[in-house]
Amino acid sequence: MTASVVIVGSSVAGVRTAQALRRGAYEGRIVLLGAESELPYDKPPLSKQFLAGEWPAERVALLSAEAAEQARIELQLGVAADHLDVAERQVVMANGKRIGYDVVVLATGSQARPSPWVAESGLHVLRTIADSQALAADLARDGPVVVVGGGFIGAEVAATARSLGREVTIVDPLEVPVGRLLGREVGSMFVDLHHRNRVATHFGTGVKSVEGRAGQLTVRLTDGQTLTAATVVVGIGALPNDSWLASSGLLVDDGVVCDEYCRAVNAPEVFAVGDVARWMHLGYGESCRVEHWTNAVDQAACVAHNVFHPEALRAYRPVEYVWSDQYDWKIQIVGRPTRATSHCLIGDLGRPSARAAGKPRAVALYKDDSAQFTAAAIVNWPKALVTARRLLAVGSSFDDALSQLEQLAGPRMEPIS
């Protein structure tokens, strides 16, 4: 019998694990530990609605103090865990306090990859609510914004800054930043999207240095050009928060290494969930770590089940899903496009007027060498999203997926491959 579960990390993976345990009628003790002193909050709006000032802080809350009390989730916030004593089954906090457990769930997520450049002020990364508030304060002042990193977070920040009326330039060493994920053809539509929204790009160019202070920053590029900026945002990826586990003896290798049930290898009473978990995905036949919101939620449900039902363990093998909102595009990616070798596009994103009523919409379908449907990238097309997610979940062939989505598109949307 598991008398107490300690969850380390109080963001979406940790909170949803605690809630799923209670929903599954687990009656034992649940302690939720978090390094930040804020009540648990959610991250996706921090580069979107919250950063734009459209949503107040209440709308990013994940768990109120009352809801925690009602669900008998003991919150201990504001102190980081420093060490995991696997033999004694104790979490050791930074203040020396030891908290015993029968099962521990590691949900410490990830952090923004730190900026390799240092300026006096005005240089931001974006991960926490405090980061988002600090950035919002700088974006409120007029002056050009330079975003380093053309991935999703960088693109979202660029779109938000643009919506606030700022002049924005994005810099990325890759010529087609999203191309690495979605292929060059689809990736270049994302480049056009920036241009259509009057955001300048310096792609294929790195940053050499950032100097100065807020309002007066100088960004030197590797091609010799110099940009001036009031605010610089560095969005160059994330790193798992696993260094506090280096002393634990657990196997840590770009995340906590787990089996297919999300249990740490060699320590079955230790689970990992969310951004920090590297588990064996049986569908892929290799270990993977996913830094997306829906993965944290789905994995939390699976981990909660496995904590409570060790006699009926469930393997975690999700269809990956991530969304991103950029300008007037709602982008969703299902499956893993990087596993694909070719793709086919239905609809058209190049011409904004491609669809008579409203925004352009399209879906790119990806296949691997064995003609299996492996992923889809969808823009502004909810029905296509639902269809693609269902087809991926049942392991559809590429041809079946293509014909179903063509049918959905109707006669006016011919595929262009």
């Binding site: 929903r23 909810p382 999203l385």
Partner: protein
């Protein structure tokens, strides 16, 4: 027996709910959630709870009737 509700203004069309409980939720062409039924049985409750929890903007709720 329980009753499901959706805040159609808040919904952003992420379709997580449709994946969790396709018998209860669908999505329309404009990307807004559609309730296929309002009352759910006890057997459906677990899936609906999962759907409610998987909505990124907390647009869904379920109440005991």
């Amino acid at each position: 027996m329980a009753v499901v509700k959706a805040d159609f203004e808040t919904c952003q069309g992420y379709a997580n709910c449709v994946m969790a409980a396709p018998e209860v939720y669908d999505i329309d062409d404009e990307g807004t959630v559609v309730l296929l039924k309002e009352e759910i049985t006890d057997e459906e409750r677990a899936k609906v709870d999962e759907a409610v929890n998987s909505c990124p903007v907390s647009a869904l709720s379920v109440e005991d009737a």
